[in-house]
Amino acid sequence: MINNSGLIGIFARRNCLQAALKALRKNRVDIQAVYSPVPLHEVEEALSAKPSSVRYFTLTGALLGIVSGIFLSAYTSLQWNFIVGGKPVVSYVPMVIVAFEFCILLAIVFNLLGMLVNSQLPRFSIPVHYDTRFTQDRFGILVQCAESERATVTTILKAAGAEEVRHAT
C-alpha cells in the first residue's frame, strides 16, 4: 500500500523530474511512486525497481494452460472412444494444438489478473495525494519521509525544479 504520509513534488519538465530523482536517490530518500502522463523508460531504469512479479502469474497460467489443454483433449477423446484411421484414441499429435492454445489463453488471463493484483486495481477511490494533472501535463514524485526531514526533502525537490511541493495527506 502506498503510505500517504509524505510529500508530493510536482514537475512540469522531464529533466527536472530526472534531476529530482537523482538527488533523492543520492540522499537516500524513500521514493514511493512516480507519476507520469507518458511512459518514461529512463525513469524505470533509474529507479531500478526489481522486475514485477506479473511474469510469475503469466508463467503459472501458461503451465496450467498446457496441462489443462492436454487434460481436456485426452478426457474428451476418452468420452467418445472412437478409433479413427487406426490411430490411438489419445494421441499426442493433435493435443499439441489444444495445449498450445490453452497455454496462450490462460497465460493471457493470468497476466491480466497479475497486472490487476499488482497495481491494486480496480481502485474505487482516488488517493488524496493524487493530482489529476498527472494524466495531463505534469510529473509527480511521492516520497516518504519523517517529520524532521520534511524541510530538507522540500529543499531538494525545489532545487531540482519542482513547481510545487505539498503534503501528501
Binding site: 530526472q18 487406426g86 499429435v93 493433435p94 499439441v96
Partner: protein, 421 residues
C-alpha cells in the same frame, strides 16, 4: 544502463574507413584459411565423385547448396524488409546483412554444377513418374530454376550495389567534420517489395525442384513456404553470428549495441516459432490424412534408422533449444552468448536440410555424415566466408549515406543528451 551512441560525424567516417585496417593483420591469414577451405572442399568433392562415393558427394553438395543459397537470399531479404519498414534500429548492421549476398554469384555458378550430378541427384531421371514428366524433366528444371536464381540474384545485387556504392562514394567524398547528406534511395524502396515477392516464388521453386522432387511421389503444398521461412531463420542466425564476431573485430561497440542484439534476438525468436509452426502445420495434416504417399516421407524420417535420432536432434537443436534460450531477455543482449546460439542454430538448420534431402537418396545403413560431408561443407563455408570478408573490405562498414542511419544516430544522441541534462 545501455551505452549511448554519441559519435561525431568525423568519428563515424573514421570508424568506417579504418574498420578494415583493424583486421589488416589477420585479413591475409583469413583469406588464406578460407581459400584453403575452398580448395580442400573442392578436392574432397572431386575425389569423391570420381570414386565410389559419387552419390554421397553430390548429396552433400546439394545439402550445402540449398543451405548456403537460402542463407544468402534470406540475408538480402532482411535488407529488403529493412527498406520496406524504414527500420532505424537495424541500420548499424545493414552492411553485415548485405554481406552474405556477395555469395550469390558464386551460388549461381554452383547451381550449374548440379547439372553434372543430375544422374545421382534426381531419381526421376531413371524412373520417370507417369504424368509428371512435363514438370520433372532435366532441361525444363534447369532452365526454370536457373532463370529464377539469376533473376533473384540480379535483384539482390542491384539492391546491394545501390546501397553499398553510395556509402563508398560518401566515404571518399567526405572531409572530416562534415556529415554526408544522404538522399532516401528511391530505387531501393521500389525494388524491395518486389524482391520479397520474387524471393518467395524462387525459393519455393528451389524447394520443390531440388528437395521435394527427390521423392517424386511426395507432395506438400506448404513445403516451399517452409523452405523460404527456414532460410530466413537461418539468415537471421547467420547475421547474429556475423554481428557478434564483427563487433570486436571491427571495433563497432559504439554502433552495434546491446539494443541491436536484443532486437535481432527477438526477430530470431519470432522466426524460430514461425519455422516450427510451418513444420507442424505440414506434419499435422500429413498425420491426420495418413495417405501412404504422404506419410511415407515422414515415417522414413522419424521412425526408421538411421534417421530417427537425427530427426530428434534437429527438432531440439533448431527449434526447442533456441526457443527456450531466446525467451530470456538478458541473454539476447549478450553478444557472445548470441554468437554461440547462432552457430548452434546454423548447425541445426544444416542438419535439417540434410534430413530433408538425404533420406530420399541415401540407402545405406549408416548416417551419411562423415569426412566427405565435413570437407564439402567446409568448402562451401569457405566460399561464403571469403565473399563476406571481401565484401566488407570493399565497402564502408557503416551505411554512411543512409539517411535513416543518421537519423538513428541523431535520435540516440539527443536521448543521451537529455538523460545527461
Amino acid at each position: 544502463m545501455p551505452r549511448k551512441c554519441v559519435m561525431r560525424p568525423d568519428e563515424i567516417i573514421q570508424v568506417s574507413l579504418h574498420a578494415s585496417s583493424r583486421i589488416q593483420k589477420s585479413f591475409r591469414l583469413l583469406l588464406i584459411i578460407f581459400f584453403c577451405m575452398i580448395l580442400l572442399g573442392a578436392a574432397a568433392f572431386l575425389l569423391a565423385i570420381s570414386g565410389s562415393n559419387a552419390a554421397r558427394a553430390w548429396q552433400a553438395y546439394l545439402v550445402n547448396f540449398v543451405f548456403w543459397t537460402g542463407l544468402a537470399f534470406g540475408a538480402v531479404l532482411f535488407v529488403a524488409i529493412m527498406n520496406m519498414t524504414s527500420a532505424q534500429w537495424s541500420r548499424p548492421i545493414k552492411r553485415f546483412a548485405e554481406a552474405p549476398g556477395a555469395f550469390l554469384p558464386a551460388a549461381c555458378v554452383l547451381f550449374t554444377g548440379l547439372y553434372f550430378g543430375r544422374e545421382h541427384i534426381f531419381p526421376w531421371i531413371h524412373e520417370p513418374v507417369a504424368g509428371k514428366q512435363l514438370w520433372l524433366n532435366v532441361r525444363f528444371l534447369f532452365v526454370r530454376d536457373g532463370a529464377g536464381l539469376a533473376l533473384l540474384t540480379m535483384l539482390s545485387l542491384v539492391l546491394l550495389y545501390q546501397s553499398a556504392s553510395a556509402d563508398r562514394k560518401a566515404a571518399l567524398r567526405s572531409s572530416p567534420g562534415s556529415l554526408i547528406e544522404g538522399k532516401r534511395p528511391k530505387l531501393q524502396a521500389a525494388l524491395s517489395p518486389s524482391f520479397g515477392i520474387v524471393y518467395a516464388v524462387v525459393l519455393s521453386l528451389i524447394a520443390i525442384d531440388l528437395i521435394m522432387s527427390l521423392d517424386p511421389h511426395w507432395v506438400s503444398t506448404l513445403f516451399g513456404a517452409y523452405y523460404f521461412m527456414g532460410s530466413f531463420y537461418t539468415a537471421l542466425a547467420g547475421l547474429m553470428v556475423l554481428c557478434g564476431i564483427s563487433l570486436s573485430a571491427y571495433g563497432l561497440q559504439n554502433f552495434i549495441m546491446p539494443k541491436q542484439f536484443h532486437d535481432l534476438g527477438k526477430l530470431l525468436l519470432g522466426f524460430c516459432v514461425v519455422t516450427g509452426d510451418f513444420f507442424y502445420s505440414q506434419f499435422l495434416v500429413i498425420w491426420y490424412g495418413n495417405l501412404p504417399e504422404e506419410a511415407q516421407y515422414v515415417v522414413l524420417r522419424i521412425r526408421n534408422t538411421p534417421w530417427q535420432a537425427l530427426a530428434w536432434i534437429v527438432l531440439i537443436v533448431s527449434f526447442a533449444f533456441p526457443f527456450v534460450i531466446l525467451l530470456n531477455r538478458k541473454i539476447k543482449m549478450k553478444p557472445r552468448a548470441m554468437v554461440i546460439l547462432g552457430v548452434i542454430i546454423l548447425i541445426g538448420m544444416w542438419l535439417e536440410r540434410l534430413l530433408l534431402i538425404a533420406p530420399s537418396l541415401w540407402k545405406g545403413e549408416q548416417l551419411p555424415l562423415g569426412m566427405i560431408e565435413l570437407l564439402i561443407s567446409a568448402g562451401f563455408f569457405g566460399a561464403m566466408a571469403l565473399c563476406v570478408l571481401l565484401f566488407l573490405r570493399q565497402f564502408p562498414i557503416l551505411p554512411l549515406s543512409d539517411p535513416l542511419f543518421l537519423e538513428m544516430l541523431q535520435a540516440s544522441h539527443e536521448e543521451s543528451r537529455e538523460t545527461a541534462a
